[in-house]
Amino acid sequence: MEQHQSSLPASQPPGTATETPRLEQYQLDGFFDELVDSDNQARLDAEKLIALINAMPPGELLRRQHAIERALFRMGITFTVYSDSAGTEKIMPFDVVPRIVSSMNWKHIEAGLKQRIRALNYFLCDIYNERAIVKDGVIPSELIDTAPAYLKECEGLRPFNDVWCHITGTDLVRDNSGSFYVLEDNLRCPSGVSYVLQNRHMMKRNFPQVFASSRVRPVSDYASRLFSLLEDIRPPHVSSPTIVLLTPGVYNSAYYEHSFLAQSMGIQLVEGRDLVVEGGFVYMRTTSGLERVDVIYRRIDDAFLDPKAFREDSVLGVAGLMDVYRRGNVALANAPGTGIADDKVIYAFVPKMIRYYLDEEAILPNVPTYVCQDDDDRKYVLEHIDELVVKAAGESGGYGILIGPHATNDERDEFAAKIKENPRNWIAQPTLELSRVPTLAGEQLEGRHVDLRPYILCSRQNDVWVLPGGLTRVALKKGSLVVNSSQGGGSKDTWVIAEAGQTVASVGDK
């Protein structure tokens, strides 16, 4: 198969450009669209999907959308609307039109993510130990020491295999030219991968033919990969580790994901109160007494992990856990302390890290970032606040954000005052014209802005794996740029198209 690569890509249908299906009447509004080009013609690898959409009778897409929503509701993938006393439940919004990533684009993304994760792991090892990157003047030490996510408790630590961030969910966006940028590195407890798997499950059931003919790469082995990773990072003295997933509990918004992943891997889902530290080891309380735990995939934040080491008021964590971790008697994924590397100020330095540790140029660029700590940058930000997106360095989930062009004067003034008060806590970026994907609005398709969160697993410093797929988050409100599910965002299935020789997902895969 390899020698045929110079000919047309396998997914290109035979025939001429005139046969390429078009999405008539769809409004591009001047934005870059992921599925069709500026002439409304299907992009490479999206032809089959567009042809199917065109061939459907009116209302069919909506019918399938409703069928999927009902199935998600039955599966209990819901959250409770707290403002409603009747306990109304809603599913996480899902859109039936998938996002397609061509094999060529994916190659670029994959290479860029692997490079980035390698550099970030070198950085974490370095910053909590030798601090060479600071001594060599690449990153100012005050930026490190003032970062809220920097953990002094982790200084001098070396996790097994020298890997700190085992599981990453990097947020990517595309601008009006279609170029990919890294928007955020999520190195703490990135969530959403269960939606990738569930969305795929739904799409296979509802679009079996077009799915089968589109040569989509499978995502179904994520849980097995994750399990192997957790096994691989076990303390060296353990041969057959007991692995658990630590959740804050059923009221956490990502609880469904925690339970789904534990079930998919066949490991215990535990809460802090199920665990206890005794004699330098962690145990779980079982009906037959205490049982030792060797690897913890923890889905609670650093600050709540151990009330003895961090927040004393934490009831979610396990008292004494950090001590066991320091002794090397338990492995934690991700390692505590990774938050320093996804601080939004430190983010601005990642291209420099890549140069410093790997002697390479970043394959995936950052979104240009103004660091308000810097006098020139701050001056620029304050003068152009109506054009910029301003973000708090230590926040995530779409909180602490000002979208300058959409904000009122009062809001801009409020953020300007905050920036002057504590410059270290703020960065700003140009407002990107995020790419769009056709999305069902009523019975018709309208463009909605999207981002993309691929998931990356890393068990050894140079062994990085990228799930061929990812979570496409979509801002369902017309014109909105905010894709977070807490603020009106939904998700789509993401189809990464296979090159010749790559495994293709089949409809029968579980």
């Binding site: 109160r273 206890v276 009906t287 007494g289």
Partner: protein, 316 residues
């Protein structure tokens, strides 16, 4: 198995069983009102008494008619033992242990909860509606799903234990109340009405056909024997206790317990007593006293489960 998970599974199972029994009580009572002339025995007040929460009912509803009692027992979210409250709690417990259940089990329970929650108001106390029959069916389906999609290891035994203890408790309760309210009307013994009432009682535990095949005619002592001492009828008290004892033994084996715990010992005593008693003895001693005593012993078993398995103090 995690102690917390074991406890949640145990309660989840009890709560579904409890909801099913409430549906059974209401269903047969609604049907009875269809067949019974208005001027005879009021079937609703005894049902409220059976809940043990008469005061709460009086406070909120005062009059024990069909609408009020059905609303209270089935749909009152403020009443923690109503059918909807039980199903909500069962589903919450299921969510906490979702990773330990088969996906079919969870989905079914999730559906079941929404089915009851979204029940149309008009059907609630309409004796011709099949709503409570559907609830009963869904609960039976739940039983079938958990039994045939999960390995019968320690988790399933906790589930089975919860189910059987709850069922034994409810069978004794319905017998207690009905026995009390029916038996005092001795003047009607042997009448058509009496026949109807006792048949209804058997219907509530799905036992009417099994009883008729064995005994043909209504006889109070035989009915008591059927409810309490039948060797194999699945909703009769004795088989429930036998099954619970068996599951508890399996749990203890799995946990590597050297000596039987408190719960196990109490359950053995209870089993032994039932094995050496009969309906005549129960009736002559007094039905209410028997049921009272039986429920106390069941509660003691439940309390001991907590200390034996769910809330172990740290000692490996």
């Amino acid at each position: 198995m995690l102690s917390r998970v074991a406890e949640s599974i145990y309660w989840m199972s009890r709560q579904v069983e409890r909801a099913e029994n409430l549906a059974r009580f209401i269903e047969v009572t609604l049907h009875m009102t269809l067949e019974q002339p208005d001027y005879l025995v009021d079937p609703w007040q005894p049902l409220v008494h059976a809940t043990g929460d008469n005061e709460l009912f009086q406070e909120k509803y005062s009059v024990a008619n069909a609408t009020n009692v059905v609303r209270f027992m089935a749909f009152d979210s403020d009443y923690p033992s109503s059918m909807i409250s039980c199903l909500r709690a069962a589903r919450e417990n299921a969510r906490c242990v979702r990773d330990s259940l088969s996906s079919e089990s969870f989905q079914h329970l999730n559906d079941f909860y929404h089915f009851v929650r979204d029940a149309p108001e008009s059907q609630l106390s309409d004796p011709t509606s099949d709503f409570f029959e559907k609830v009963r069916e869904r609960s039976l389906l739940w039983s079938g799903i958990v039994d045939s999609t999960m390995p019968h290891h320690v988790g399933w035994h906790f589930l089975n234990l919860g189910r059987l203890l709850e069922r034994a408790d409810k069978t004794s309760r319905i017998l207690d109340v009905k026995y009390f309210s029916l038996h005092k009307r001795m003047d009607q013994v042997g009448t058509a009405l009496d026949d109807l009432q006792w048949s209804t009682l058997l219907l509530a535990i799905s036992g009417i056909e099994a009883y008729r095949r064995e005994h043909h005619l209504v006889d109070i002592q035989k009915i008591v024997a059927f409810f309490v001492f039948h060797q194999s009828f699945p909703r009769s008290i004795f088989p429930c206790i036998t099954g619970a004892k068996w599951s508890l033994r399996n749990i203890e084996n799995d946990c590597g317990a050297d000596v039987p715990g408190n719960a196990s010992q109490q359950l053995s005593v209870l089993h032994h007593r039932l094995a050496n008693s009969n309906a005549q003895e129960v009736i002559s001693r007094g039905m209410h006293e028997f049921v009272d005593d039986f429920q106390h012993q069941l509660n003691a078993v439940g309390d001991s489960l907590a200390t034996d398995f769910f809330h172990l103090t740290a000692a490996s």
